[in-house]
Subunit: 350 residues, 2 copies
DNA sequence: TTGTAAGCGTTATCAT
DNA sequence: ATGATAACGCTTACAA
């Protein structure tokens, strides 16, 4: 038996001998319908297991009450917390959320954008790493006047709002913290997944060193040649492990390490332990993100916490505002503070 | 300035003086169009920044090349790994994936189903915890002949395929492992988020005890009264912590614990450490899922690993098959083996 | 309270 | 190689 075609409004209408419009009114609970007719319709609807066609409906209504969210690494708690916050805020305002995953390749970014835009979403939130082609497409989407908000990464467009944690400052403070502890040979692990200027955390690290007159040693900045493609989720851990190995083999290894994120930091910690060194006595380490992992490591990982929920909430609100106010809107731009969370991986606990 | 209306096929057509159909052919690369006309069209398309209307297109085509995935807890690596695997498989076959989050409440399940179905997705994959009302709606969706696959939970419907890890067996083996180590007072943490029969891991625990003639002590089964609503993501950890506290306050506390998942186990570990007890000497512990957390705990957490990627791949394939073959299909049902991963939380490392 | 007509933006189909 | 027409399933606006 082939898949049976679903009943339409017209089918219902002609079956019970009323106008399609009457059925529509009953189904949507709009306008006046006599109790008698209403019951007849409801019965038929149930009988024929009618299901309204959202495509047709939305085509006519010219809106979908749906927002799209494109996520890079869905395995990262950073992303999922944002997604949860976005969803909550949207739901409170009657909007649905469709999430698309793009594992950071330009093609996938574009695919995600297209599929979402194809469904005529009312707005788009983007939280992927930036890449040339993807950004180009995103720009053209913004040009076409679809409300867009970008989270946690750079993107400049007069009609696109932007919200991010202060990665520059976060990187600075993490490094500053290590300097304050007396370290001078401080390494950075996980550079180079993207252009250096776009990696604000690395920039913050460099700024802190510079401010304290510590010369930058390129050998202490690792990860530059790693390719991130086909890296599944949190296994940037591997990059941390290998980066640390390399650092340990230097003639004069670092006494402290700032890792681009917690997973990378965790990988580095493994390498340090494998080398028989202790944390933080031999090498201190700081991560970024404050994932659940961080607080459970041994020693617990000092890290920089991003206000994930707030990021998501703001992104949702900015977007809703753009959707509601159809007029030209000033670009809104928010940079939120991070918080350094000091734990045992940088300061020995008594 | 109000948001400008997007150009349509007709706009393009009338602007350059051809039929809409011609523009359509160019845009979709189907049928014959003279090079000259094509260029003219392409130019206009770019000029007017034309974007095809997917709603109208899909309404006409009667398909969307899109599959929906409803996820319960998106903060759980279990979910995200499945999502990644599903997405990959679908992408390889030209399908897009829209993910909806439902934090385990019936309303949200239904909302997610509805919003997805409203967009006329070609198929639906469901990976939420089961709940009465949600299941009812899901049943009616399946009745309406939309291809549906359910992952990692019960659901019976003649047209709905099913794939899951063997939670029963996993729970059994985890418990068996503890029994083999000589434990007799073994607790279970995290029962009761749903009906007991639906929590296969608990069932497996009970079966193992029974098999070895160990009497079931209800006081050792904890978590029954916890409500999971408004529990954000991985903070089932809290449930583990509190459950363990309660167990430790028993006249005769357990010597081993099986936790419903890794987060719960981690919470329990904290409680054990806080009580000044050591793992596994005083209390052994086993989790479930093998999240990244597990291998990094101190001691590392013994846990039961689910084949997440395989689950996702199979789900995608089952669904694609249902979509491709429009005829009635036998219900396909797969239960995949779990793997017990023994680490330091149950067996002291030498 | 109910019905009619038109159209949302495409594409399938047949015609030229 | 291009066009005309109808239809996808619904809702808006108006009429009865």
């Amino acid at each position: 038996m082939a898949r049976k075609k679903n009943a339409t409004l017209n089918d219902i209408a002609s079956t019970i001998g009323v106008a399609p419009m009457t059925v529509s009114r009953v189904v949507n609970g709009t306008g006046y319908v006599s109790e008698k007719t209403r019951e007849k319709v409801l019965l038929a609807v149930k009988e024929m297991s009618y299901r309204r066609n959202g495509l047709a409906r939305n085509l006519k209504r010219q809106k979908t009450d749906t927002v799209g969210l494109v996520l890079g690494d869905i395995s990262n708690p950073y992303s999922t917390e944002i997604a949860n916050a976005v969803r909550e805020r949207l739901a409170a305002r009657g909007y649905n959320l469709f999430i698309c995953i793009s594992e950071h390749s330009a093609n996938e970014d574009i695919g995600a954008f297209e599929s979402l835009v194809d469904h005529n979403i009312d707005g788009l939130i983007v939280a992927t790493r930036s890449n040339q082609e993807g950004d180009e497409r995103l720009r053209s989407i913004a040009d076409s006047n679809l409300p867009v908000v970008v989270v946690g990464r750079d993107f400049h467009h007069s009609r696109v709002d932007f919200v991010s944690a202060d990665n520059l400052r976060g990187g600075f403070e993490a490094t500053q913290h290590l300097i304050d502890l007396g370290h001078r040979r401080i390494a950075f692990i996980g550079a180079g997944f993207e252009s250096r200027s776009s990696l604000k955390r690395l920039q913050g690290y460099l700024n802190a060193l510079e401010k304290h007159g510590i010369e930058i040693d390129e050998r202490l900045i690792t990860g530059r040649k790693e390719s991130v493609s086909d890296v599944p989720g949190y296994s940037t851990e591997k990059i941390g492990y290998e980066g640390m190995k390399r650092l340990l083999s230097l003639p004069s290894p670092p006494t402290a390490v700032f890792a681009r994120n917690d997973f990378t930091a965790v990988g580095a910690m493994s390498a340090i332990k494998d080398a028989g060194l202790s944390i933080p006595q031999d090498i201190a380490i700081v991560g970024f993100d404050d994932t659940p992992l961080a607080s459970h490591m041994m020693p617990a990982l000092t890290t920089v916490r991003q206000p994930m929920r707030l990021l998501g909430q703001l992104a949702a609100e900015m977007l809703l505002k753009r959707i509601a106010i159809e007029d030209e809107l000033e670009r809104d731009e928010r940079v939120l503070d991070c918080e350094l969370i000091v734990r045992g991986s940088s300061v020995a606990t008594s």
